[in-house]
C-alpha cells in the first residue's frame, strides 16, 4: 500500500512537470494581456525539436536547449502577431497549434522516414529529476518576480491597462513581447521534458492537450504562478492515478480512464464560477 502511494506521489510530480512549465508560461503571457492558446503547439515544437537535436548531436542537453528555443520562436511569432498586427490572439494561437502539430508529423517522415513516431534518441536519463524540481522552484521564483520586481509590476500593469503603461512612459508592446516569448520558451521546455525527459522519443499527438489543461490551470490558479502550479499538480495527479490504477486493476476501462485529467480540468473550469477575474486587458489587442 505504502509502495502504491509512493509511486503515485512520484508519478504525480513527473506528470505535473510539463504542465507546470506550460502553465507558468500561460500565467506570464496572460498577466501581460496576451492569451496564449498556442501553448499546445509550442510544447509540441519543443518536444519535436528536442528529439531532432538530441538525435543529431547525441547530446540531450543540447536537445533541451533547442526545445526551449523552438518554443520561444513560436512565442515570438505569436507576440508579433498580437502586438504589431493586433490580430485575434485566440485564432492565431490555434493556427500555431496546427502548424506545430502538422510540422512535427511532416518532419517525422522527412527526417526519419517513419510516420507516427521517431526512433529512440538519447534522453536526459536521471537528470530529468532536476527539471522536475526546477519546475517548482521556478513557480516560487515567478511568484516573487511577478509581485515584487519592476518587471513584474510593469508586466501586470500592461495586462490591466496598456494605456496607463503608455502614460507612464513605458512600451506595453515590448513588455508583452517579452512575456509571450518567455511563455513560448517555457512551453517548449515542458515539451522537451515530455520527449527527452520522461521518454526518449517523439510521437504524434504526445502533448495530448496538455497545453490546454495548462490554460485551465492558469484560470483555476487565478493567474498566480503558485496557484497555477497547485492546479497542475491536481491534474498531474489524475494522470498518475489513471496510470497506476490501470496497472493494478485489470478490469478498469483503460481508455475511458485516460479521460480523467480532461474531466478534472472541466470540473475545475466549472468550479471557479464568477469568482475569478482575468487581467482586465487580457486578450484585447492594444
Amino acid at each position: 500500500m505504502i509502495e502504491l502511494i509512493a509511486t503515485l506521489a512520484v508519478l504525480t510530480l513527473i506528470k505535473s512537470t510539463p504542465i507546470i512549465y506550460a502553465a507558468l508560461g500561460g500565467v506570464i503571457s496572460e498577466r501581460s494581456g496576451v492569451i496564449n492558446i498556442g501553448l499546445e503547439g509550442m510544447m509540441a515544437a519543443g518536444a519535436f525539436t528536442a528529439v531532432i537535436v538530441s538525435f543529431a548531436t547525441q547530446t540531450p542537453v543540447l536537445g533541451l536547449l533547442a526545445g526551449v528555443a523552438a518554443g520561444a520562436c513560436f512565442g515570438y511569432l505569436l507576440a508579433v502577431a498580437a502586438t504589431r498586427f493586433k490580430v485575434d490572439q485566440i485564432v492565431a494561437g490555434t493556427g500555431i497549434n496546427l502548424i506545430c502539430a502538422g510540422g512535427a508529423a511532416y518532419g517525422l517522415v522527412i527526417l526519419f522516414n517513419q510516420p507516427g513516431a521517431s526512433p529512440q534518441v538519447p534522453s536526459l536519463g536521471g537528470a530529468y529529476w532536476s527539471l522536475v524540481i526546477a519546475a517548482f522552484v521556478l513557480a516560487g521564483a515567478l511568484q516573487w518576480l511577478l509581485f515584487h520586481t519592476r518587471w513584474g509590476l510593469r508586466t501586470r500593469a500592461t495586462g490591466e491597462n496598456p494605456s496607463a503603461v503608455v502614460s507612464a512612459g513605458l512600451d506595453p508592446l515590448v513588455l508583452r513581447t517579452y512575456a509571450v516569448v518567455i511563455s513560448g520558451a517555457l512551453a517548449g521546455l515542458g515539451g522537451a521534458f515530455l520527449s527527452i525527459g520522461e521518454l526518449n522519443l517523439y510521437s504524434d499527438g504526445m502533448t495530448a492537450g496538455r497545453g490546454f489543461i495548462a490554460l485551465a490551470a492558469v484560470i483555476f490558479g487565478r493567474w498566480n504562478p503558485i496557484g497555477a502550479t497547485a492546479a497542475c499538480v491536481v491534474f498531474g495527479f489524475f494522470e498518475a492515478l489513471q496510470f497506476v490504477l490501470q496497472g493494478q486493476i485489470a478490469w478498469l476501462p483503460a481508455n475511458a480512464m485516460q479521460a480523467l485529467p480532461y474531466i478534472a480540468a472541466l470540473i475545475a473550469l466549472a468550479g471557479v464560477t464568477g469568482r475569478v477575474r482575468a487581467p482586465a486587458a487580457d486578450g484585447v489587442p492594444f
Binding site: 520586481t149 509590476l153 510593469r154 490591466e160 494605456s163 502614460s167 507612464a168 482586465a280
Partner: protein, 473 residues
Amino acid sequence: MNGRGEPALSLRGIRKAFPGVVAVDGVDLDLFSGEILALVGENGAGKSTLSAIAFGELKPDEGTVHSRGTVGLVHQHFELIGRLRVWENVLLGREPRRGFSVDERAARERVLAVAQDNGLEIDPNAVVETLPIGVQQRVELLRELDREPSVLLLDEPTAALAPAEIERFFATVVQLAARGTAIMIVTHKLQEVIEYSHRVTVMRHGEIVASAPTHEITIGEIARAMVGGDLPDLATRADTTKTPCLHVKDLNAGSGATRLNDFFLDVHGGEIVGIAGVEGNGQNTLADALTGMIAYAGTIERRGTIGVIPQDRQREGLVMNWSLVENALLGRQHRAAARRGLELDRRRARADAAAIAQRCDVRAASLDVAVKTLSGGNQQKLVVGRALIDDPDFVLAYNPTRGIDVGAAALVQSRLIESRNRGAAVLLISFELDEILALADHVIVMYRGAVLGAFDRDRFDRAAIGRLMAGST
C-alpha cells in the same frame, strides 16, 4: 503671476486628421510659466486631441511641439490601473529599487511626500478601484506631479468632482501656478474658467477662434465663440397632466460604494424628473435596476412601455459595424411589429430607420453605412430617436448629451421635452447639473446610493443642490 519670456510650451502649425474628420486644423498656441490657460470649446472641437498632441501621446500630421521640461497630462478618462495600489499607479515606470526588488516602503513614503507637498490627502496603499472617483483623480494628478512637470495639462478635470472638491482642486492648481508651473485646463465649464483662469482660448472645428485674457471677456462672449453664434433654443415646455408611471420604493441593489440604499422615486407621465449627483454615487446601479439588468430588492412598479437612452452609446446602444437600418431594430427586434414569423420585417426596419433619421436629423451618407462612420453626435441622435420612436410611456435617459456637440445636444434635449409634453414620464440621470436644471420639473439629489434631497422647479437652489451632491446635509 504671469511670467513672460520664453513659453514653457509652444505649438506651431499643428494639424491632425482622423478618417473622415480633421480634428485639429492649423493651431498655434503658447503657454507660459505660472499662467493658467483655459482651452474651451464644445465637444468635438479638438481640445482633447490637442492636449494629447501637446503631451506627446499623439503625433500630429503636421506642425511642431516644443516644451521646456516635462509635460504632464491628467486625462479626462483616467489612465489608472484599478487592481493595483495607489503607489504602484503613481510610480509606475519610476519605481524605487532595492536590489532586484521594488522598495515598497520608499515608494509609499515618496507618494505621501508628493501628496503633502501639494496639499493633497491620499493613502498610498489603497487599491485604486476601491477609491471614490474624486480620489482616483487625485491619484492620476499625483502621478503627473511626481514627475515635476513644468507644463501640466488637465483634461476636463472637474467632470467627476462635487462642488467642494472642485474648490480644493483649484486651490492646488493655483498653488502650482504660483510656483511656476504652466497650466492648461481643457474644459467646457465656463464658470470655472472665469473664476480661475488667467487666459482663455476658444476652439471650434479644430481651429482657434478667440483668445483673450480672462478679465477682458465675458461668459456670453466665450459661449458664442464656442458655438459660432447663439445657442440653439430648446423646445418649450407645455402644461401637462401628471399620471403615475414609475414607482420605486425601498430599492436596494448592487454592492460596494455604488450600492443603492433604500432608494425611492416617483415619476409621472408628463414630467421630467432629474437625478442630480456626482458620477459614482449609484447612478449606474439605478439605471441597471430600472432596466432589469441586475437583481434588486424592493419595489419597482412601472406602467406601460419603456425607451432607454444608455450612457455609453458605443458599447451599450449600438453595434458599430452594423448599418443604421439594423441598429434601428436593436432593442425592438422581439416585438411582434418587427417580425414576420421567424423573419425580421426588413421593410419595416428600413422605414423605421428613415423615420428616426428624419425626426432626429441624423446625418449619414445613407441608411446602409456602418454606424461607426457617423460622428458621435449623429450616433447619439440615432440612439435617442430609436428610444423614442415607439412613443414609450417611460423614458430613461442616462447622460443623453454626453460627448456630443452643442447642436446635437440641443436637439436631444428638445426631443426629451417633447416626449414629456406628449405625456411620457422621463427620468433624466445626468452628471451635468446645468442640463438637469434646464430640463427637469423635479430634481432628486443622489448621494452614495440614497436620496438626499428633492426640489421642485420653482424652488431650484443651485447652491443647496451642490451641497447635497457633495453629501453635506
